[in-house]
C-alpha cells in the first residue's frame, strides 16, 4: 500500500512522538525538538504538523492531564500508530541504503 510521503519536519515530529513514550503532547514535543535538533520552532508549527500527521493517520491522540497552569484545560496526548511506525521504518531503510552506498572518503595526497 502506498503511503503518503512525509516531510522533514513531519518526520522529525513523528520520531519525537515515538521517542517520548509517555506524555507526548505539543509542548513536550516542542521542547525535545528544540533541544535535540537545536532549532527554535514555534508551538503553532508543532500543532499544525501534529494535526497533519493525525489526518494522515500516523498518530492518534487522546485527551487528558488537566493542570492548574492550563486553567483546568486538558492536554492532547499523541501516540505513534502502526502506520506511523511503518513509514518511519521505511524512511530509515531508504536513508541507510543510500548512505551505505556512498564510498568512504580517503584523504590521499596528490
Amino acid at each position: 500500500m502506498n503511503q503518503e510521503s512525509i516531510g522533514v519536519l513531519e518526520e522529525l515530529v513523528l520520531l519525537t512522538v515515538g521517542s517520548i513514550t509517555q506524555g507526548a503532547y505539543a509542548l513536550t514535543i516542542l521542547e525535545e525538538i528544540n533541544e535535540k535538533a537545536e532549532r527554535n520552532l514555534d508551538v503553532t508549527t508543532i500543532h499544525s504538523v501534529l494535526r497533519r500527521l493525525d489526518k494522515k493517520g500516523y498518530v492518534t491522540s487522546e485527551m487528558g492531564g488537566a493542570t492548574k497552569e492550563r486553567g483546568g484545560r486538558r492536554k492532547r496526548f499523541f501516540q505513534l500508530t502502526a502506520a506511523g511506525k511503518t513509514v518511519l521504518d521505511e524512511n530509515m531503510e531508504l536513508r541507510m541504503e543510500l548512505y551505505n552506498k556512498i564510498p568512504k572518503f580517503t584523504f590521499s595526497s596528490i
Binding site: 503532547y25 514555534d42 508551538v43 503553532t44 500543532h47 493542570t67 492550563r70 486553567g71 486538558r74
Partner: protein, 889 residues
C-alpha cells in the same frame, strides 16, 4: 496564577477556533504563558501569547461559520446545480434554446442602441430646457415661401437687444477652406462661432478658457482630435495655423483646445474662429440683411422665462423693423428646442441633417419584434421539453414537492438559460458593433459602463421569468397519475402554440417581403435610366480668384482656368467629353432661382450654367429645337435651353424662340427643349430646368436665389480607358502642370449620385439584417417544434407504419401540421407589409409598384426554409422502426 494573558487575545482565539481543537490549544498557550511570565515577566509573555494566537490562525483551526443558514440561498444553489445538470443532459435542446434567445437579444440590443442613439441627440447639454434654435419661415403668398434653419447674421444682436428673456444668442456657421499647417495645405471644414459658445453649450474646454476661448480676432480653437492631427503630442497652444480667407492665407494662433464633440450632437466641428471676423468675411449688406441667411442662431433663455413670451412678442418686434416693407406674419421667426432638431424632418436641415423619426421607431419596433419572436420560440420550446419530463415531475410530487417548489425549480432553470443567453447575446452584440456599423453604414457608438451590467442582468432575469412562466405553470400543475401515464398535451397548449407559430411566420414573412421591396426600390433607383449617361464621369473643382468681390469676375477667372485645364486634359487619349457645368449630378444644391412673372405669379426654376459641349457629353436628348452651336456667339450670350417640365410649367405651346415670362430678364431666347432628365434625386419629380452658357441675362431678372455650395463652374469629363483608377492619375498629372500649388478637389459622379440614396440604403441594410436574424430564429423555433411534435406523436407514427403507411405519407402528415399555419401567417403579414411599405415608398416621386408576386416569393421562400428545417427530423422519424417507438412504455 496571578496574571492572565490579554483578554482580547483569549476572546479572539475562542471565537475563531474550532471547538474540538480549542481546549488543548488554549491550554498549551496558557501553559506557555505561565512558564514565560515566570521567566521573562508578564509583558513579554503577553506579547508571545498574542503572537501565538495570531500564528494559530490557520485553515486547519478556523471553524466553519454557519451564518449562511439561509435556506433560500441554499435552495437556489441546489436548483442551479440541478438546472445545470438538466441542461447538460439534453445539450441539443438547450443549445437550441440558448442560441435562439441569444440571437434575438443581439438583434434587440443592436437596434435598441441605434434607436437610443438617434433619440438622445443633443440631450447632454445641461441647459436643454432653455436652449432653442431659431428658424425662419417667410410666406409672401402665391407659393412664394422660404423656409430655412439657417438665419440672417443680424439675428444674434436682434435677439439679444430686443428680448430680455434671452440670456445669450450664439451663432454657428460651417464652411470650408484651405488650411495650412506647416507645409501642408488641406481642405477642411471649420466653424465661425460666437465667443460665448462654451457658456451656452456643454462642450468641455480642455486647454484655454471656456469664458474667453478666443484671445483676439486671430485666434483659432481646435478639437482634441485635430490638435493631435496637426501637432501630435506637442502643446498646440500658441502654434500657428493658416486659413485661406479670400484667396490670401491669414495666420491664426491656437488659443484653446476643446473636447471632441460627441457623435450624438447636432453641432459638430473640429476647428473654429470667432465671429468677430464677420465684418471681414461678409460685406456690409449681408451683415445687416434680413433676407440673406448663413449661420444657425441658437438662443439661451434666462432661468424662469419661457419661449412663449418670446413667441408672443416677436411678430410685433419684427414689424417694428420691417413694417414698411412687409405685412404681418409674412416674416416668421420661430424656435424649436435643441432636442427637437435631430428627429424633426419637417424643418429643413441647418448645419446637420435630421433623421426621420419614423424610421427610428420602425427599427425599434423591429428590434422589439425580433426579441419577442425569440421569447415566443423559447416558450414553445420550453413547453415542448417539459413534456418529456412529466415523469420527473410526477416523481417529485410523490416525494412531497409542493407546486411552489416545483415552480421555483423550473423557473430557476428558465432564468439560467435566459441569463446565459443574455450574457452571450450582449457580449456578442457589443463586440459586433463595428461589424454592424460597416454592414449598415451607421455609426453606432457604445461605451461600457458598469451600470450597464445591472441592466443586462435585469433583462436576463426578466426574460427568463416572463418567457418561462407559462410552461412552468403548465408543467407543475397536473395530477400525478396523469403525468405518470404520459398523455399527450392538453388542448389549450396546442392552441397557444399554433398561434405562436402563426405569429412567427407572419413576422418573418413581413420582414422578408419588406426587405425584398426595399431592395427592389433601391435597384430601381440606382439602375433607372436618368436620361443622361453617368458612367466614368468625373467632376473637378476649378480654382478661382477669391479676392475678387464681383461674382461675375470670379466666373470669368474660373472660365479661363477651365480652358487651361481642359487643354491639358485633352492631350490624354483616354479623356473625352470635357465640358463644364455650375453643378454636378448628385449634388443637392443646384441653383434654385425665383422671380415674379408678368401675371404676378411667383415662379421658381433650377438653373445650370454649362458650355456648348454639355448636352453631347452626357447624351442628353433634345426633343425640340437645337442644342448650343460651338461657334455661335449668340448662343454664348443669349441662348437658353429648357427641359420639358419647364415648358409645361411656363405653359409654352411652342417654346422655341420664346423667352421666360419675367419683366427684368436680359436679352435671351429659348433655342431648344430637352427631355426631362433626373438631375436631382428620384425622391422628387423632375423640376423645371434652364440651361445657359451665360448666366447674366437670367441673373438680372430673378428676385431670389438659393444655392448650396459654389455656383462657379466645374470641369466635367469622361474617362474612356480600361482602368478607372487611371483617371485619377491622369487628372492629378494634368492638374500639377496647370495649377501646381492648388489642392485638387474632385469626385466621381456616379458615387455622388448613389449617395443621394444613402439613407435608404442604410435602412434597407438594417432591415435585411433584422430579417436574416428573424429567419434564423424562426428556423430554430421550427426545428424545436418539429422535434417536439415528433416526440409526442412517436406512438402514433409507429402505429401508422404498422398499418402500412409509407415514408412519404408520414412525411406529408407531419409537414401538413405547419403548412396551414404558414399560409395563415403569410396572409396576415400582407396588410401590415402593404401599409408600411406604401408609406415608405411615398417618399419617392419615382417608385416601384407593389405586385403580388413579391408576397408570393417571400411566402414560398419561407415555406422552403421551413421544409428544409423540418425534413431532416421528420424523415428520420418516418424511417424509424415502429417496434422501437411502440416498445417504450
Amino acid at each position: 496564577m496571578n496574571n492572565q494573558p490579554p483578554k482580547w487575545a483569549i476572546k479572539l482565539l475562542s471565537w475563531y477556533c474550532r471547538p474540538e481543537l480549542l481546549e488543548d490549544l488554549e491550554g498549551d498557550l496558557y501553559e506557555l504563558f505561565d512558564a514565560q511570565h515566570k521567566k521573562y515577566g508578564t509583558k513579554k509573555a503577553g506579547w508571545f501569547f498574542i503572537w501565538a494566537v495570531i500564528r494559530s490562525i490557520r485553515p486547519s483551526t478556523i471553524r466553519l461559520f454557519n451564518r449562511t443558514q439561509n435556506t433560500r440561498l441554499m435552495f437556489t444553489t441546489h436548483n442551479i446545480k440541478i438546472a445545470a445538470r438538466v441542461l447538460w443532459r439534453d445539450k441539443f435542446s438547450a443549445l437550441l434554446n440558448i442560441s435562439g434567445l441569444s440571437i434575438g437579444i443581439i438583434c434587440f440590443i443592436l437596434l435598441g442602441l441605434y434607436v437610443l442613439q438617434e433619440s438622445t441627440f443633443d440631450r447632454f447639454h445641461t441647459k436643454t430646457d432653455r436652449l432653442y434654435r431659431s428658424y425662419l419661415y417667410e410666406d409672401y403668398g402665391e407659393g412664394h415661401t422660404f423656409f430655412n434653419a439657417v438665419t440672417p447674421l443680424r439675428f444674434e444682436t436682434f435677439f439679444e437687444d430686443n428680448f430680455p428673456e434671452v440670456e445669450a444668442a450664439v451663432q454657428v456657421r460651417l464652411t470650408n477652406t484651405l488650411v495650412g499647417v506647416f507645409d501642408q495645405r488641406i481642405n477642411e471644414e471649420f466653424a465661425i462661432i460666437s465667443p460665448e459658445f462654451f457658456q451656452v453649450f456643454d462642450f468641455k474646454v480642455l486647454q484655454g478658457s471656456s469664458k474667453k476661448p478666443f484671445d483676439n480676432r486671430t485666434s483659432i480653437i481646435l478639437s482634441r482630435a485635430y490638435a493631435e492631427k496637426f501637432f501630435g503630442d506637442n502643446n498646440p497652444i500658441g502654434k500657428v495655423i493658416d486659413l485661406e480667407m479670400k484667396d490670401v492665407f491669414e495666420s491664426f494662433t491656437v488659443s484653446a483646445v476643446f473636447d471632441d464633440m460627441p457623435f450624438n450632437s447636432s453641432i459638430k466641428f473640429d476647428m473654429a474662429v470667432s465671429n468677430e471676423l464677420n465684418d471681414e468675411i461678409y460685406d456690409e449688406q449681408r451683415l445687416n440683411a434680413w433676407f440673406s441667411v448663413s449661420p444657425e442662431t441658437y438662443v439661451l433663455l434666462k432661468k424662469g422665462t419661457a419661449i412663449q413670451s418670446v413667441n408672443e412678442k416677436i411678430q410685433d418686434i419684427v414689424m417694428s423693423y420691417l413694417g414698411e416693407d412687409l405685412q404681418r406674419n409674412e416674416y416668421n421667426i420661430r424656435f424649436q428646442p435643441i432636442t427637437d432638431i435631430h428627429l424633426n424632418p419637417e424643418i429643413p436641415a441647418g448645419n446637420s441633417a435630421a433623421n426621420n423619426p419614423k424610421y427610428v421607431y420602425i427599427l425599434g419596433f423591429i428590434g422589439a419584434l425580433v426579441l419577442i419572436l425569440a421569447c415566443i420560440n423559447y416558450t414553445t420550446l420550453a413547453m415542448g421539453n417539459s413534456l418529456k419530463r412529466n415523469k420527473e415531475v410526477a416523481v417529485r410530487k410523490v416525494l412531497g414537492a409542493l407546486r411552489p417548489t416545483l415552480i421555483n425549480q423550473y423557473l430557476t432553470e428558465s432564468v439560467i438559460i435566459a441569463t446565459l443567453s443574455t450574457a452571450i447575446g450582449t457580449i456578442t452584440a457589443l463586440m459586433a458593433v463595428p461589424v454592424f456599423n460597416s454592414l449598415t453604414n451607421s455609426t453606432l457608438n457604445y461605451s461600457f459602463e458598469w451600470m450597464h451590467l445591472a441592466y443586462f442582468l435585469g433583462m436576463g432575469l426578466l426574460i427568463g421569468l416572463i418567457a418561462g412562466i407559462y410552461p412552468v405553470w403548465a408543467l407543475s400543475g397536473g395530477k400525478v397519475l396523469a403525468l405518470l401515464q404520459k398523455t399527450s398535451q392538453s388542448k389549450t397548449s396546442h392552441g397557444i402554440r399554433k398561434v405562436m407559430v402563426v405569429f412567427q411566420f407572419a413576422m418573418t414573412v413581413f420582414l422578408l417581403t419588406s426587405t425584398m421591396i426595399m431592395q427592389r426600390q433601391l435597384d430601381f433607383l440606382q439602375n433607372k435610366d436618368l436620361g443622361f449617361s453617368q458612367d466614368a464621369s468625373l467632376a473637378v473643382e476649378i480654382p478661382t480668384d477669391q479676392s475678387l468681390r464681383s461674382r461675375s469676375k470670379q466666373v470669368a477667372v474660373t472660365l479661363q482656368n477651365h480652358a487651361l485645364l481642359k487643354a491639358e486634359l485633352a492631350k490624354s487619349p483616354d479623356i473625352d467629353n470635357i465640358t463644364m457645368a455650375s453643378h454636378t449630378f448628385g449634388s443637392t444644391s443646384w441653383a434654385h432661382m425665383a422671380f415674379t412673372d408678368k401675371n404676378e405669379v411667383f415662379r421658381r426654376f433650377y438653373f445650370l450654367q454649362v458650355d456648348e459641349y454639355y448636352l453631347d457629353a452626357f447624351d442628353i436628348k433634345l426633343i425640340d429645337g437645337r442644342g448650343f452651336e460651338t461657334e455661335s456667339g449668340l448662343d454664348k450670350r443669349q441662348s437658353i435651353i429648357i427641359n420639358q417640365a419647364a415648358a409645361d410649367y411656363f405653359n409654352f405651346e411652342n417654346p422655341i424662340g420664346e423667352k421666360l415670362p419675367g419683366n427684368d430678364f436680359g436679352e435671351h431666347q429659348i433655342i431648344g427643349v430637352i427631355d426631362d432628365i433626373h438631375f436631382s434625386s428620384l425622391h422628387n419629380k423632375v423640376q423645371p430646368l434652364v440651361l445657359a452658357q451665360n448666366i447674366l441675362p437670367i441673373y438680372e431678372g430673378i428676385s431670389d436665389i438659393n444655392v448650396g455650395g459654389s455656383i462657379l463652374p466645374k470641369l466635367l469629363f469622361k474617362y474612356t480607358g480600361q482602368n478607372l483608377v487611371e483617371a485619377e492619375t491622369i487628372l492629378s498629372a494634368a492638374w500639377e502642370k496647370v495649377f501646381p500649388n492648388q489642392s485638387l478637389d474632385f469626385h466621381f459622379m456616379d458615387q455622388a449620385i448613389k449617395q443621394q440614396y444613402e439613407n435608404e440604403a442604410q435602412l434597407k441594410k438594417l432591415i435585411s439584417v433584422a430579417s436574416t436574424i428573424s429567419i434564423i430564429i424562426a428556423a430554430i423555433g421550427l426545428l424545436g417544434l418539429t422535434v417536439l411534435v415528433i416526440n409526442s406523436r412517436e406512438k402514433e407514427i409507429g402505429i401508422r407504419k404498422v398499418m402500412g403507411a409509407s415514408v412519404i405519407q408520414i412525411f406529408r402528415l407531419l409537414a401538413k401540421t405547419y403548412s396551414i399555419q404558414l399560409v395563415i401567417g403569410v396572409l396576415l403579414s400582407v396588410p401590415l407589409t402593404l401599409w408600411l411599405m406604401k408609406d415608405w415608398l411615398d417618399n419617392f416621386a419615382y417608385k416601384v409598384s407593389l405586385t403580388p408576386d413579391l408576397f408570393l416569393m417571400s411566402g414560398l421562400l419561407a415555406m422552403f426554409i421551413a421544409i428544409l428545417v423540418v425534413s431532416y427530423h421528420t424523415l428520420k422519424a418516418a424511417l424509424v422502426n415502429p417496434i422501437e417507438s411502440l416498445r417504450d412504455e
